[in-house]
């Protein structure tokens, strides 16, 4: 297998051409921002402000004692209009802080750059990153400080920055790499210090030559940092597959990247780290690609986190015709949201609006055992069998066929000629297996 790739995967139509060359534009100030109290990891946050309070931009407005949680900050200055329920991307109702901007964008006094970054101890850097509310910005919203807090006796040698952006349509990371390569490299240097490694590799799919060149220009000045172009192949941006492509290492089943000496972070996350240390800003805005055939003028917007999708779509000239689906993220793993009012989160890299014609409701046909899912599965599983076990409730079989290894990339469902909902069936099996493992632990525990 050539370096820069992995076995399996697919190459769906990229559909990035409408936004790939568009400079990011600061979205106009939203009429309201909605900061979710339940971001990323499963820790609910407690508001530190009350209804009617005046908040400044960058001020901490919610936090948690839980180790896995990170605080949230007000993306604008303004008034806390209410704290209540909002419909989230998942379709459920969740607690959120509603803020009405005052149009001043007065920065909170806590937002000051960090001096002498490289003389700070790593623990201090990790603490600052947590306090800035930084999570993985590739979509999963995994708290960055947890990733950086390596267990004792774990030896890592490489920081791997993920600039693959393998999802079709999305160009947020692409633009960031073209426009802010130095900030990304600066963020990488801070992250290297936080985990005490001397080298960084930046994996970028070879369909973004301008990003590769820009990052290479920026990397020259930084010791140990090197850009590695990788093959354009979905799911190249999967942590495990990017490690395989760039470093030739395979993370064993059930293990995390540090088990092969790597910490992986998104390029957007690295830029957010630089924002915090050099500009004093916590994570309150991000690049969002608003695109799709049902959007008038697709754009790459720098948007306040918590902006309702409808406001960003309006900034792009609104809908063309009747929209069929609004997807948070890309078409392979993104979530179709129930309403245009759903606010963006820290991991929302794109808003994809599909037309009604594109929003086909696929009807499952019988499995003809063609094996295409087996050929395409980047984890080398057998999705056809997993669907069979899951459908019949045979969770032991599903576990024996390694359901838990599934990374939910959706490649199996994408290639299935019988349009079977393979990845959904596997997700279901994973859910059941986890529940049973938990129950067994509780029974066996005490």
């Amino acid at each position: 297998m050539p370096k820069g790739s992995f076995r399996g995967g697919v190459h769906p139509p990229e559909n990035k051409e409408r936004t790939a060359a568009l400079r990011t534009v600061v979205a106009r100030r939203p009429s309201q921002v909605v900061v979710l109290l339940h971001q990323g990891s499963n820790c609910p946050l407690t508001p530190t402000v009350a209804r009617g309070d005046h908040v400044r931009m960058g001020q901490k407005i919610a936090d948690t004692e839980a180790k896995w949680g990170v605080p949230s900050h007000s993306p604008v200055s303004g008034k806390v209009a209410s704290i209540g329920l909002v419909r989230t991307a998942f379709g459920a109702q969740d607690q959120a802080i509603f803020i009405e901007p005052d149009g001043e964008d007065v920065l909170d006094e806590s937002c000051v750059p960090v001096d002498n970054v490289f003389s700070q101890p790593p623990e201090k850097l990790i603490e600052i990153i947590r306090e800035a509310g930084i999570v993985g910005m590739g979509g999963a919203e995994f708290p960055t400080h947890i990733k950086l807090s390596l267990p004792p006796k774990v030896e890592v040698d490489t920081l791997l920055l993920n600039g693959a952006e393998c999802e079709p349509y999305l160009t947020a990371d692409h633009r960031l790499m073209v426009e802010r390569p130095r900030d990304i490299v600066r963020g990488a240097q801070i992250l290297m210090r936080a985990i005490s490694v001397m080298r960084t590799r930046i994996g970028i799919e070879d369909n973004k030559p301008d990003a590769i060149n820009a990052m290479r220009d920026a990397e020259v000045s930084a010791a140990g940092v090197e850009v590695v172009p990788v093959k354009t192949r979905y799911p190249q941006g999967s942590e495990k597959h990017l490690i395989k492509s760039v470093l030739g290492r395979e993370v064993p089943p059930g293990r995390l990247p540090f088990s092969v000496g790597v910490v992986v972070s998104n390029v957007g996350t690295a830029a957010a780290v630089s924002d915090r240390f050099d500009r004093g800003l916590p994570l309150i805005e991000r690049v969002v690609t608003v695109t799709g055939s049902a959007v008038a003028t697709p754009m790459n917007l720098i948007a306040k986190i918590g902006t309702p999708a409808s406001e960003l779509i309006e900034a792009c000239g609104g809908f063309v015709g009747e929209p069929g689906k609004i997807i948070f993220g890309g078409p392979m793993m993104g979530m179709a949201v129930p309403s245009a009012d759903v606010p963006t989160g820290k991991g929302t890299s794109g808003i994809l609006v599909m037309s009604q014609e594109e929003s086909v409701a696929f009807k499952e046909m019988p499995c003809i055992k063609c094996g295409q899912c087996v050929d395409a599965c980047p984890m080398r599983l057998e999705p056809a069998f997993l669907h069979q076990w899951s459908g019949a409730g045979l969770w032991d079989e599903a576990e024996a066929y390694h359901a838990m290894d599934c990374i939910e990339c959706g490649v199996c469902t994408y290639v299935c000629p019988s349009r079977r909902n393979l990845v959904q069936a596997i997700k279901r099996a994973k859910f059941e297996i986890s529940a049973r493992r938990r129950a067994a632990r509780e029974r066996g525990g005490k």
């Binding site: 069929g324 046909m365 087996v374 080398r380 057998e382």
Partner: protein, 326 residues
């Protein structure tokens, strides 16, 4: 912004090209050159046989599903594939009721009783043919004719009696032909103007269809190539003419269009290679040491029954199971 009615569905939100009905339709398209060549060499009677066979298979699926109150699935083209294949693996002048009964049996018993498309263990068309030849051995193997244009080759090979209804494999089995004269058959076997089942005689037409399926990425070479090469190697080792064995009988048709049937072949690449080799060994053994002159049909059916076992024994190594730290 007016909240229009949005569709909510799980990811992925896009799908790749060919759907199952399109794949099945492509198989029909790929079989057409060989079917047309059969009509060309054996006359319009062959066309009547094809029409009856396809109508029987598709009609049986429609009627049985109506009776069982199940959704009618003839739109997925798989019954049409079965009907077409049944006509193609029977003699061109077979009594018409034979492909009709074979088609009804293939769809009703071999496919629908097992749960319909995707659930059948055996290739329906081959099982239909096996059923017909077992039930009416004399009738189902009668009706082989030599196209008028091919009689010269037969004369050259045997030197007597051009009026025969025996296929080259039968003649070889009976010891009527052999030795260096076998090379005389290469041309007719490749073009198709020779006695045989309706759709199996023209290697050229079959390979054109196979190329189409390869180009459309519906089949891979794993099963067909291992199957054909295995037959050639074994017959060659036993001092037979390998090329004669590859080109004669139903090997090309079986290897590219029946052994590659998704439902009844293994899912994993390694399993597909094992399956192809197994088919090849059985075909060569039946031809050389069995009671029948031809073994493609039974070889594939026997290997069909081993598919669940092969799938179980050839499970892929998952990502990360072999760790290599560079």
């Amino acid at each position: 912004m007016a909240n229009t009615k949005l569709q909510v569905a799980p990811a992925p939100h896009i799908r790749s090209g060919a759907s199952t009905p399109v794949i099945m339709r492509d198989v029909v398209i790929a079989l057409l050159p060989a079917a047309i060549s059969g009509v060309y060499f054996f006359g319009l009677r062959a066309a009547v046989s094809i029409v009856c066979s396809v109508a029987a298979a598709v009609g049986a699926e429609y009627i049985f599903e109506k009776i069982a109150n199940k959704p009618v699935t003839i739109g997925d083209w798989s019954a049409a594939v079965t009907g077409l294949l049944i006509a193609m693996v029977l003699p061109p002048h077979v009594p018409l009721w034979i492909p009709i009964i074979a088609g009804v049996f293939a769809i009703g018993v071999v496919k629908l009783l097992f749960g319909g498309l995707g659930h059948n263990v055996f290739n329906p068309a081959l099982a239909g043919r096996a059923f017909a030849t077992a039930a009416w051995p004399a009738l189902a193997t009668a009706g082989y004719i030599w196209p008028a244009s091919a009689e010269g080759a037969l004369w050259a090979a045997r030197g007597f009696d051009a009026m025969s209804t025996a296929t080259p494999l039968t003649l070889w089995k009976m010891g009527d032909i052999g030795g260096a004269a076998m090379t005389k058959f290469y041309g007719p076997l490749f073009m198709g103007n020779i006695a045989g089942s309706l759709g199996e005689t023209s290697a050229l037409a079959l390979l054109i269809g196979a190329l189409y399926l390869l180009w459309r990425e519906h089949i891979s070479l794993r099963i067909p190539v291992t199957y054909v090469v295995t037959v050639a190697v074994i017959t060659g080792l036993y001092g037979q003419d390998p090329l004669f064995h590859v080109l004669s009988g139903g090997l090309i048709l079986g290897a590219f269009f029946m052994a590659t049937d998704y439902v009844t072949s293994p899912m994993n690449p390694k399993g597909q290679v094992i399956f192809g080799i197994g088919c090849g060994i059985l075909t060569a053994l039946i031809r050389m040491f069995g009671g029948y002159p031809e073994g493609v049909c039974y070889s594939i059916l026997i290997m069909n029954s081993a598919v669940p076992l092969i799938d179980r024994l050839t499970r892929p190594k998952r990502f990360g199971e072999v760790t290599d730290r560079a």
